[in-house]
Amino acid sequence: MSDATPQLPKQGARATLVDGLWRNHPVSVQILGICSALAVTNRLESALVMGGALCLVTTCSCTMVSLLRRYVPRRVRLIVEVAVISTFVIIFDQFLKAQYYGMSKQLGPYVGLIITNCIVMGRAEAFALNHPPGLAALDGLANGAGYALVLAVIGLARELLGTGAVMGVTLLSADWYTPNRLCVLGPGAFLAIGFLIALVNALRRRGAGEGEA
């Protein structure tokens, strides 16, 4: 009874990239990582920092897990994944506090919650364990970037529609646009992501009973 994780046939780098960014997109297809997607998207700036954080942590963690894949005993692989991810998250969090303190306070606990973010764990478990470091890093990067893209879009929409301004620049002046406060509040986040996913599904011409009921 071999304890090593099985190795899948090699997959091209380009296919990996496309998968993460569109075909197997972490949020809309794999239905993962919704939590932090919603909390920090009330402002574009926080959404961008969070997206960057997740991209960085996913890439590093997947690379590390992939490097260890031949040595990790099956029984403890989840623990090892959590340990690796936590370490990278803490490192990022500490540097954020040191260099960009204001943003760290704005993001609150949500940077720490990257540890429990389903995407990072999901990719480490599903991909990094079975693929060489180069591809694993690329996969982590692609998924992270795809996720960051969604965060940026939602952040832009919510901040623009909710306050009329984006990152300090007023685009919809208060003269004629009444900011829709609901967008920067909780429900706005759920609605925004619901409609975004519906849009993506429509663009894909899918969405017919995909795992429903």
């Binding site: 990790v72 005993p73 403890v76 506090k97 303190y101 306070k105 406060r181």
Partner: protein, 203 residues
């Protein structure tokens, strides 16, 4: 064939590696974070006292500007920040601190040298509902305080935060719709700070 011993050794190695990485990171960033935390509140003091500073300035710069321009007066019970130079000289900032609706509210009320008119306010820390009570930290709400008097038409000390758009008297300020309770708590905190100031001022 991997055995239990191997598993244990592996976990120990991973633990050691992670531990080392973390120890290094913590020691590298510890000092800087401590400075950041110290400097964090100062930014607001400088702002309400009108002292010019570079918004992108690092915490050490902020600390030096603070030491040069602000006189910290803690002779009484509460701490007062008096502007020495670089801004509205003679203006005094009172810290405002206490329970809001959901958590502690921390802020500053800066008075002009006449000790009556509000120069500026800053409520920078709170746990209020985002979009409702949470708006006490926005510029548009805080601007409402500027220039208002802390004395009512009969000369009694105290401000009132009233329902929009009812502010009439010299010491009345429009509140936030949907955040009546937060505003009420805030009003209490500000008046407590003003009362403390009066108590300590009278010899």
């Amino acid at each position: 064939m991997k055995s239990r011993v191997y598993t244990l050794l592996f976990m120990a190695a991973v633990g050691l590696a992670c531990g080392t990485a973390l120890a290094v990171t913590l020691s590298l960033t510890r000092g800087r974070i401590a400075t950041n935390e110290k400097a964090d509140g100062l930014r607001h003091v400088l702002r309400v006292l009108g002292i010019r500073f570079d918004p992108a300035a690092g915490p050490e710069k902020l600390l030096s500007v603070f030491r040069a321009c602000v006189e910290v007066d803690d002779s009484g019970g509460a701490v007062l920040y008096r502007c020495r130079k670089g801004g509205a000289v003679g203006a005094v900032a009172l810290p405002v601190q206490g329970p809001g609706l959901w958590g502690e509210i921390r802020g500053l009320v800066a008075l002009e040298p006449d000790m009556r008119t509000i120069r500026a306010v800053s409520f920078y820390q709170h746990e209020e509902t985002p979009g409702l009570g949470g708006d006490i930290s926005t510029a548009w709400f805080q601007q409402r305080f500027e220039g208002r008097s802390t004395l009512d038409s009969r000369g009694r000390r105290g401000i009132r935060i009233v329902r929009v758009p009812g502010a009439r008297g010299p010491n009345e300020i429009d509140g936030i719709t949907g955040a009546t309770m937060t505003c009420r708590k805030l009003e209490t905190l500000i008046n407590e700070a003003l009362a403390r100031l009066d108590r300590e001022a009278t010899p």
